[in-house]
């Protein structure tokens, strides 16, 4: 029984339980529903919840734990001698899983029948060719022990899946029966059902916490693996970034950090004045008509996905900067450069800066403006000497948020900044950033358990910590600022 089917059956049982439960509640008072403590459907709901929730939770937990259990069982079959030079148990287990699912396919396609499978001996039959026929490609011939493990894996998985289905269905029926037995006119069904719903609400709000925990856990776990293979001191202080397939790589974060900060700096230099001026003009000067055109246009800019900006950098801004600035000035011949990525990222940040600044500028009370105009100040004097100083904390918060966005931005730099890790000042040169390297190290062909791949997690952790600090600081400043005017 597939998982989907199990869920369907459980839900079906629960639904039936709902109707029976409601009917029982009604019949328990001989149709006079006024004598019930709660509305009849609440009695049905309790049956539904008692039946569905435990069964589904158990199914979910089972699904998460089953692979761990099975691998533990099966990995015993594989002897240390079966693991080829340069390979690892993890890789062999990946093969086991692959062969096992290949066998499933073969059985489903009718190439193998179940009896033939149990008789099959990997030392005699060419399993690789067999599986190749049904479209499962294997890198090498199958070792008998590996094949045995795969067969065992498949069998255990199938047994456990059956057991899971049985347990889920039994739980569903059991839950329904218990809830059903509890129905009587004084039973506070509404309170029970509401308590259950409230628990579901609380459970949902835990997802956000779990996400953060998941992020921190996964980053920390793999980063500590990385630091076991590569010294932390070198990671933080080495001035070169030069990953090698053969090992002996230099994995210093500094060149990447420099590229990240340089690109972000260019982007902010571009976006902050423009965004701020746009916000000021729109809130203090623009006529209603201008506002009604410019505001939606800026919102459009904000809604465009970053991949579009990336493409814009790649096919338009990059060649433009190279042909009209970098080459005539003799500063470089690369279309991807710090300036390309920075300018395009700046465009992306304009709406971000302007809408955040718009909020804080509008939060400055009208009384401040009146006070200034009443003294005979011009609009620009009012803006520069009263509104901006008053809104300054909020604007600083907005800039910090924009900086955090710039540092974490990926697609624009992947497509616009280049891939060479350099410590250079020339903005027309290609440089690379932390996010670019996270992508390239995790989408490359290197083995997962190598420092060259795991470094991505250390980079991710650094990125997460930096942006988190910026965000917390920015949110704190903005909140403080809001309180001042409320």
């Amino acid at each position: 029984m597939s998982v989907g089917l199990v869920i369907l059956v459980v839900v079906a049982i629960a639904t039936v339980g709902f109707f029976i439960g409601r009917a029982r509640a009604v019949s328990s008072v001989a149709g006079d529903v006024r004598q019930l403590h709660s509305l009849p459907s609440y009695y049905g709901q309790t049956v539904f919840l008692f039946s569905a929730v435990p069964a589904l939770l158990v199914t979910l937990a089972w699904l998460l734990l089953q692979p761990l259990y099975v691998e533990n069982q099966v990995s015993g079959i594989i002897l240390p001698g079966d693991i080829a030079e340069g390979s690892s148990l993890d890789l062999v287990m990946a093969d086991v899983r692959r062969i096992s699912s290949g066998l499933d396919t073969a059985v489903a396609a009718g190439v193998l029948d179940k009896n033939a499978l149990t008789q099959l001996d990997a030392s005699q039959t060419d399993v690789r060719a067999l599986l190749g026929d049904v479209g499962v490609a294997l890198a090498s011939d199958v070792h008998p022990n590996v094949f045995a493990a795969a067969r065992e894996y498949r069998a255990t998985t199938a047994t456990l899946k059956g057991a899971m289905a049985a347990v889920a269905v039994v739980l569903a029926v059991l839950g329904a029966v218990i809830a059903f037995a509890r129905i009587h006119p004084e039973y506070r069904a509404r309170n029970v059902s509401e308590l259950a719903i409230k628990s579901l609400l609380i459970l949902s709000s835990m997802v956000a916490i779990l996400t953060t925990v998941g992020i921190i856990f996964s980053l920390l776990f793999e980063t500590s693996n990385f630091f076991r293979m590569y010294p932390a001191r070198d990671f933080f202080f080495n001035l070169t970034w030069n990953p090698q397939f053969t090992g002996g790589s230099d994995l210093g974060i500094l060149p990447l950090l420099w590229g990240t900060l340089y690109v972000s700096f260019v982007a902010l230099i571009f976006a902050v004045p423009i965004g701020l001026l746009v916000a000021i003009y729109l809130s203090e000067y623009a006529s209603r008509k201008v506002r009604s055109i410019v505001k939606p246009a800026i919102e459009v800019l904000a809604g465009i996905p970053t991949i579009v900006y990336g493409l814009f950098a790649l096919i338009t801004i990059g060649p433009l900067l190279r042909d009209y600035f970098a080459q005539p000035l003799g500063l470089g011949a690369s279309s991807s450069s710090v300036l390309t990525a920075g300018v395009v990222m700046g465009i992306m940040l304009i709406p971000f800066v302007s809408s955040l600044s718009d909020d804080v500028i509008n939060a400055v009370p009208q009384a401040m403006r009146d006070g200034s105009y009443g003294l005979g100040a011009t609009q620009s004097e009012t803006v520069r000497q009263v509104i901006l100083p008053a809104a300054l904390p909020g604007i600083v918060g907005a800039i910090l948020l924009a900086a955090s966005r710039a540092i974490g931005e990926t697609m624009i730099v992947v497509m616009g900044a280049g891939a060479a890790a350099k410590l250079s000042l020339n903005p027309f040169e290609a440089m690379t950033t932390i996010t670019v390297k996270i992508v390239s190290q995790l989408t490359g062909d290197t083995e997962f358990a190598s420092p060259e791949t795991l470094v991505a997690f250390a980079l991710g952790l650094s990125l997460f910590v930096v942006t988190l600090c910026l965000n917390v600081l920015a949110l704190y400043i903005v909140r403080k600022y809001r309180e001042e005017y409320e």
């Binding site: 709000s205 997802v207 956000a208 980053l219 423009i274 459009v300 974490g408 917390v472």
Partner: protein, 450 residues
């Protein structure tokens, strides 16, 4: 209050007329005008950036929706396709794609003879190269689907190769063809003759929306079918998970949560999650969903889960705002007639907040649809030619996604892929536009002011 008199000894200000601006006022007004100009310049730059961005994409991408086709009469030679004449599909299937290439060559020869077109010194082998490498494969698929047609002559519309297509889109010229090993000036001359004879045509290309991706050297056959379907599957996952979880979280936080440190932690957490770089969610997806939970790479379910976690804060923030906008008097009224808190929320507050929630959800979905970086890390960047199956199993099949497909195409060498990538962006933007339009309509239609 005797201090006041001390001010009286100040020299009285000279009388000035309001009708004449003094020098200082003139200077101040000039500064005012300058400042205003800065504002106008800033807005102009922002608008120019938007226009530049959109027109660059449109300019580069609109041609992706048109494609050059060559129409040929192909004789499905039984001697090549079905040697023993048995009509047995299994035997016909043994003829590989290579076996079909000579048929195309033959039909060019026939065409040369029939209509007298042709370029001196050009062999039919070279002419056949004007057809996309996808051509023989398409022909084979056709024959396998209609084996009874063997022995007959069919009129078949082939995709022209990327270079021939590029010639009609201005990407390839006679000059560039001289130094290009993939196309020769003779081929271009022949193409012009075919066009004059009505056999070559550049027209609207549904294939761009329906075909799967194609390999590096056949850009003309690459389409967005798998990517659109993959993105659609992911959006379904996001909608089914993010909406209920987001609404439940918002209801709890807004209506039930006690004011204590746990609630504070959740709230701070959500606002921070909203600002976590998207790529970090990709790392999370790789570590938790793929490495730990063992879900398959490149699958829409994993993409959907990652995007769900990313979208949740957006939906929660929007939902809470619209729950807040429902005045407390509604809750009081419901509680006043004896409804439980839960009933008040589900019967009254939630329906009133629904339009705002939907608007927020659509905007969240639009964000998720355009997100690229996290999908790269969970393997969506892989080359996928097969369409994913029907749900629910299809959620676990490898698929592409629209924005990732764009990225994929930009990484390829053939310049024809730049056109494809820009075209894909247009498709993506059209989807986003539709979603935002729906959100705006919903807001206009149901917006309620209390």
């Amino acid at each position: 209050m005797t201090d006041v008199t001390s001010g009286a000894n100040m020299a009285p200000k000279p009388k000035t007329s309001l009708l004449v601006q003094d020098a200082r006022t003139k200077r101040r007004n000039a500064a005012e005008a300058r400042f205003r100009t800065y504002g106008v310049v800033a807005i102009t730059i922002a608008m120019l950036a938007l226009v530049g961005l959109l027109s660059s994409i449109l300019y580069n991408g609109s041609s992706a929706f048109r494609q050059t086709f060559i129409t040929l009469d192909v004789y499905l030679d039984p001697a090549k396709l079905d040697k023993d004449g048995s009509g047995d599909i299994a035997k016909i299937a043994k003829v590989t794609t290579f076996g079909y290439a000579p048929l195309i060559k033959k039909s060019f020869e026939a065409e040369f003879e029939k209509s007298g077109i042709g370029v001196d010194g050009m062999k039919s082998k070279d002419a056949a190269k004007m057809i996309s490498k996808e051509g023989p494969a398409e022909l084979r698929r056709f024959v396998l689907a209609h084996p009874h047609m063997i022995g007959e002559t069919v009129t078949f519309e082939f995709l022209a190769s990327g270079r021939i297509d590029g010639y009609y889109k201005g990407r390839v010229t006679m000059k560039s063809a001289e130094i290009d090993k993939n196309v020769s000036p003779q081929q271009l001359q022949l193409a012009d003759q075919l066009k004059a004879a009505g056999l070559l045509e550049t027209k609207w290309n549904w294939g761009f929306l329906t075909r799967a991706d194609a390999s590096e050297n056949r850009p003309e056959a690459a389409g967005l079918g798998v990517a659109i379907l993959g993105s659609f599957y992911m959006m379904i996952v996001v909608l089914c998970l993010a909406l209920p979880i987001g609404v439940a979280t918002s209801i709890y936080l807004e209506e039930f949560a006690p004011r204590n440190w746990i609630t504070d932690v959740i709230e701070v957490n959500i606002s921070n999650l909203a600002a976590v770089p998207s790529i970090v969610f990709g790392i999370l997806g790789l570590a938790i969903f793929i490495n730990f939970a063992g879900l398959p790479q490149s699958a829409p379910i994993v993409g959907g889960l990652v995007l769900t976690l990313m979208t949740l804060p957006t939906i929660i923030i929007a939902t809470r705002a619209s729950l807040k906008a429902v005045p407390p008097s509604i809750r009081d009224a419901a509680l006043g007639v004896g409804a439980s808190k839960m009933q008040a929320v589900f019967h009254h507050v939630l329906p009133l907040a629904a339009p705002g929630i939907l608007t927020g959800t659509i905007i969240g979905l639009a964000q998720a649809l355009g997100e690229t970086a996290p999908l790269l890390l969970i393997g969506m960047v892989a080359f996928v030619r097969e369409f994913p199956g029907a749900p629910p199993e299809g959620f676990f099949d490898p698929a592409a996604a629209l924005p990732v497909q764009v990225y994929n195409w930009t990484q390829r060498a053939d310049p024809a892929f730049v056109e494809r990538a820009s075209g894909a962006i247009i498709v993506l933007l059209v989807f986003l536009l539709c979603m935002n339009a729906i959100a705006i309509l919903l807001r206009r239609r149901f917006e309620r002011r209390w």
